[in-house]
Every structure is written in structure tokens, then in C-alpha cells.
């Protein structure tokens, strides 16, 4: 009974759980990566107890991988030694942690997953409660396999209608960010529903959950349906049978409705995710670097959209165009389908899967005064290097059109 988040916790605890309650539950997976694992190891060592269940621990190398400098290399060396000493099996360097968590089967409807990364909320698109925590709590969870949560109130986001050509789930999410603001979902569960979501493929739904943390939310959930189950079966190693459930007589704190059919391509402008404008208003702004990557928008379908626009064309000579597939699996699929060749022919640079340029550690750092157009989820000052650089966020299609013109460009004329 209740909202999706209340349903998930009620099922887990075998009793009705309501918003506002604080509960302690067993978690299904405890995720961390090269950036956050060292502090978790520190908390774990202070506690001085053994790991409860190594099979729940999942560690990724993705944030600065392959190591761009000696410090990162030494950090990763320490983590590897810890993994070996503790006998942890689930260790990956196959791309961005969140994509790999989904592909490798750690994400299931009704599941509860915690991670030392704010975008752990990504798994909500598949009906899994997931949220980001600090490293000390991750270290504590290694010892306990448990975590406590305060069940949040829920804001229902109803997305209705069909998206016009050139408008993708990223544009819809940016429109919502512009409307709700960066604190509009603080501490809330965002529940995405409506006819637009019902018809949306799972890979595109992931954008909403991924970016719900940009609005301050604790989680961003979508009810698992047949589309979810088909995606899990065909694109992931998750083993069924899978839980299917919906909100039952939910009480929402408020409801926001957006008519998707009235939207146009959007862009989030420097320096905040909620500085959202129609892309049309920003056309012509010169761009030094285009980055198609990250846990938000570097899935196979995103690459396919960009390749469709870049095929037989050249990117602008002074616009460095970086393509970073979210995972090795996606990279392989794109290679087999000829997408990588299209990118290379167009003059793009294809990077190793991972977070790449997203956190300004390596793989595409910006100089002062430079401007990037990216498919990322955040455009905070200094995120990609210089604090005097600017970051604009948009869809993969807008990124591809922008790469060709060297200026922010409307993707619609390029869509056949």
C-alpha cells in the first residue's frame, strides 16, 4: 500500500511502511568506486570487524581509469590489494559504475542498493530503490549488510503525450529541472509516470532516475512494467523471476504534470542544472569541446542517435568531439554495428569507457574560457577542469549537431 518507495520497503519488511518512518533493512548490493572506496576502507578499518557478506560488495574502477597519474594509480593499487585480501569477487573496470551495475545484474525491481556515489539513484528507472551515501556508511554496511533509511514523501511527476521529433528524455528531464529547480525534490522520492513514461524504452527512462539527484531527490522511481522486464532479460545478467508492482492508493505530497508534446529541445546553461532554456535561444554559441558520455547519456541508443547525425559528416575542426561509451558492453555493440567507424570517420575521438571527462580528472579537461556542450548531468563550476570554463547540457542529438557546426545547434534539421 502506498507510493512506490513505500511499496518497496513494505515488501522488504513484510509490513506496511509509511513516509516519515525510519527503518533498518538488509541491502542487496553495496557499490563504491575508485574515488570513494579508499574512505570506505578507512571507516571499515576503524570499525575493525569482518565483512558480513563479500558477495554484496561491488567495486568499480571508472572515475579515473585507466589511472591518469601516479596518485590515482597508487590509490587503485591499495584498493586492489584490499579486494584481494578480503576475497571480494565483484570487481569491475568495464565502464561507468552505474551502467555496469545494471548490465551485470545487481539491479532488480524491488531491490535495495546503496552506493558511495550520488548518481546511485540511477537504478530507480528499473524499479529498484537506490541512493547515494557517504563512504563511512558504505564501510559500515560492509560489516553489517544493513542500512537505515527514512522513508521519503513522494512527488509524482506525470509526463503526458508524445515527444515531438528531436525531443528526447534528456530534454524532458531538463525541462523538469527548469521547472522544479535544484532543490525542488529535496529529500523526496520522485515518481515518474504518465503516458510518455509508459511508452518510453528503458534506456531512455534511466535519464530521469539518474538526474533526479540533480533536483535534490533521494530516489527517482519508475514502476516496473513489461518494458522493464524485457530490458532486464535482454540487456542485463539479472536473473528472474522479477517482481512487478505499482503504487497502491498512493498519497503524494504534490503532483507535477508536463505536456511532453509541447516541448522543444532544451539546454541547461552555465553554471546550474536548473538554468534551463529552449535550445533555440542558445543557438550559435561557439563550443570548444563536445562530450558524449556519462551515466546519463552514453548508452548504445544514445550513440546510435549521434551516429545517425554524424554519418557522412565532419565535426568542426576546432571542436574537439569526445565519445566515451558508458561501458565495454556498449562499446562492443557500437563497434559491431559500425557506429565507432562512423565516429572515427567524422573526426571524433573515441575514449575508453568510464567517467572520462565528466569529473575533470582526465580524458578531456577544459581550459579557462572554454565552453563544452555535453550529455552529462551536472554543469557545476569547475566540474570539467578550469573554474573559468562553461558547461552546457543537452541531448546526444544536440551534442552531435553542435559538434558538426562548432556552435550550439538544433538537431532537428539533421534528423532524416
Amino acid at each position: 500500500m502506498g507510493t512506490l518507495v513505500e511499496e518497496i520497503f513494505s515488501r522488504r519488511l513484510g509490513r506496511t511502511v509509511n513516509a516519515g518512518e525510519i527503518v533498518m533493512v538488509n541491502v542487496d548490493a553495496i557499490m563504491s568506486h575508485d574515488n570513494t572506496t579508499p574512505l570506505a576502507i578507512k571507516a571499515f578499518s576503524e570499525i575493525g570487524k569482518p565483512i558480513r557478506d563479500t558477495s554484496k560488495i561491488v567495486i568499480h574502477f571508472d572515475h579515473a581509469y585507466p589511472a591518469p597519474n601516479q596518485l590515482a594509480a597508487e590509490n587503485q593499487q591499495k584498493i586492489v590489494r584490499f579486494i584481494q585480501a578480503q576475497g571480494i569477487d565483484n570487481f569491475y573496470h568495464r565502464g561507468v559504475c552505474h551502467q555496469v551495475m545494471i548490465e551485470e545484474g545487481y539491479v532488480k525491481p524491488g531491490g535495495i542498493v546503496i552506493g558511495a556515489d550520488s548518481h546511485t539513484v540511477t537504478y530507480g528507472a528499473l524499479g529498484c530503490f537506490s541512493t547515494g551515501l557517504g563512504s563511512s556508511e558504505i564501510g559500515a554496511a560492509w560489516v553489517t549488510s544493513k542500512c537505515w533509511f527514512k522513508i521519503p514523501e513522494t512527488i509524482l511527476v506525470r509526463l503526458e503525450g508524445n515527444a515531438p521529433a528531436g525531443v528526447y528524455s534528456k530534454d524532458v528531464m531538463l525541462a523538469l529541472a527548469g521547472q522544479l529547480g535544484m532543490d525542488g525534490g529535496t529529500y523526496r522520492s520522485l515518481e515518474f509516470a504518465g503516458s510518455y513514461i509508459d511508452a518510453l524504452p528503458a534506456h531512455a527512462r534511466i535519464v530521469f532516475s539518474n538526474m533526479s539527484v540533480e533536483l535534490g531527490a533521494k530516489c527517482g522511481l519508475i514502476a516496473p512494467d513489461q518494458i522493464t522486464l524485457d530490458y532486464l532479460a535482454s540487456e542485463t545478467k539479472a536473473q528472474g523471476p522479477f517482481d512487478q508492482f505499482t503504487a497502491v492508493n498512493p498519497r503524494y505530497e504534490r503532483t507535477i504534470t508536463i505536456d511532453v508534446s509541447a516541448l522543444q529541445p532544451m539546454v541547461a546553461c552555465h553554471p546550474d542544472v536548473d538554468q534551463v532554456k529552449p535550445l533555440a535561444e542558445m543557438i550559435g554559441l561557439t563550443i570548444d569541446q563536445v562530450y558524449l558520455g556519462t551515466c546519463t547519456n552514453a548508452r548504445y541508443e544514445d550513440l546510435e542517435i549521434a551516429a545517425g547525425i554524424l554519418k557522412g559528416r565532419q565535426v568542426s575542426r576546432f571542436t574537439r568531439t569526445l565519445i566515451t561509451p558508458a561501458s565495454q558492453t556498449i562499446y562492443e555493440k557500437a563497434l559491431a554495428a559500425g557506429l565507432i567507424q562512423i565516429f572515427l570517420d567524422a573526426g571524433c575521438t573515441v575514449n575508453a569507457p568510464g567517467c572520462g571527462a565528466c569529473i575533470g580528472r582526465h580524458g578531456g579537461i577544459l581550459a579557462p574560457g572554454e565552453r563544452a556542450f555535453t550529455t552529462m548531468n551536472r554543469n557545476f563550476i569547475g566540474r570539467m577542469g578550469s573554474a573559468e570554463a562553461e558547461i552546457y547540457l543537452g541531448s546526444p542529438a544536440a551534442a552531435a549537431a553542435t559538434a558538426i557546426e562548432g556552435r550550439i545547434a538544433d538537431p532537428r534539421p539533421y534528423l532524416a
Binding site: G20, I22, V23, M24, A43, E46, I47, G48, K49, R52, L133, G134, S136, E137, G139, A140, V143, T144, K146, W148, K150, P152, D183, T186, Y187, G216, K218
Partner: protein
């Protein structure tokens, strides 16, 4: 008997402890700078077991644990607020700072009032005005984490099963 220190709405983590003082995580050192810009009389004047009372969205802003550590380091018994920002709420419990969410108490307590609390029952008494408020009581396991000084400390000497026992 504890004195109430009253704060307004959306007090952020920088107002609790400015980022430039976050080079240490020693509670007593952080405590010397706690609220230094918004309330310079706080650190010199606060007595052990005083309470902090605030309006909605207390502790918004960054996720740094320094903010609740600084307040705990000052000897504050409990923070009572109309509501807390999500990460502050979590961090407070995990580092062992008791908190109570109660909009009525936040509205009904003024700076300098004498306040008593019963954490287990969720009761808040304003002795100055003779009023009483009910916050949602914290679950027993949360109080155990608080009493131990935080989750890492708790687990050093206890099993997690003891939390829910």
C-alpha cells in the same frame, strides 16, 4: 535545564561551519567556529546540554559531516528543527548528534527559552512558557547509534544485531 539557541530557516552547512574551517575533523576544534558568522556569540556562550532550535530545512547545502560534528563538539544535546535537509539528517544520526523534527516546537520556542527534552518519548518541554510538544520519537536503534557517538563507533564495540534487538 537547557537554554535554546534559535535559528531561522534553511540554515546551510556553510553557516554552521564555514568550509575554510573544515581542515580538521576534531569535534572540539570545529566547535570553536560553529555558527561563527551567523551567531558569533554561540561558541563562547554555549553550555553543555543546550539545545539548538531552527526553522525548516536545517543543514542544507554540502554533504560534509563537519557540520553535525561541530554542533556535537559544542556539547549541544539535541537539534530541534521544523525539518532537516536530507544529508544533514543522515549525517547527524551517523555521527551521533540527536535530532528531533517538530514544526510546532520550532515555532513555539524563542531564543533563550529554557527547554527540556525526552529523546526516547519524543517530548519537548518549553519550561519558560510551560508548553509541551510531541516530536516523532526516534526509533530505538537510532538512539543507540547516537549514544555510541555514531555508526562507526557503535560498530566498534557492538554487533549490528544489537541495534534492532
Amino acid at each position: 535545564m537547557s537554554r535554546a539557541w534559535k535559528f531561522g530557516e534553511s540554515l546551510n552547512t556553510d553557516e554552521i561551519i564555514p568550509a575554510r574551517f573544515n581542515l580538521t575533523i576534531v569535534p572540539q576544534e570545529l566547535a570553536q567556529k560553529v555558527f561563527c558568522e551567523v551567531r558569533p556569540d554561540f561558541a563562547p556562550g554555549v553550555q553543555p546540554d543546550d539545545v539548538v532550535v531552527a526553522d525548516a530545512n536545517f543543514g542544507c547545502g554540502s554533504s560534509r559531516e563537519h557540520a553535525p560534528i561541530a554542533i556535537r563538539g559544542a556539547g549541544v544535546k539535541v537539534v530541534i528543527a521544523a525539518s532537516f535537509a536530507r544529508i544533514f539528517f543522515r549525517n547527524a544520526i551517523n555521527i551521533g548528534l540527536p535530532i528531533m523534527e517538530c514544526p510546532e516546537a520550532a515555532a513555539g520556542i524563542s531564543d533563550g527559552d529554557e527547554v527540556d527534552v525526552d529523546l526516547t518519548q519524543g517530548k519537548i518541554y518549553n519550561r519558560t512558557r510551560g508548553t509541551e510538544f510531541q516530536a516523532a520519537p526516534l526509533p530505538a536503534f537510532v538512539l543507540k547509534i547516537s549514544e555510541a557517538g555514531g555508526i562507526v563507533n557503535f560498530l566498534k564495540t557492538h554487533d549490528v544485531e544489537e541495534l534492532t534487538a
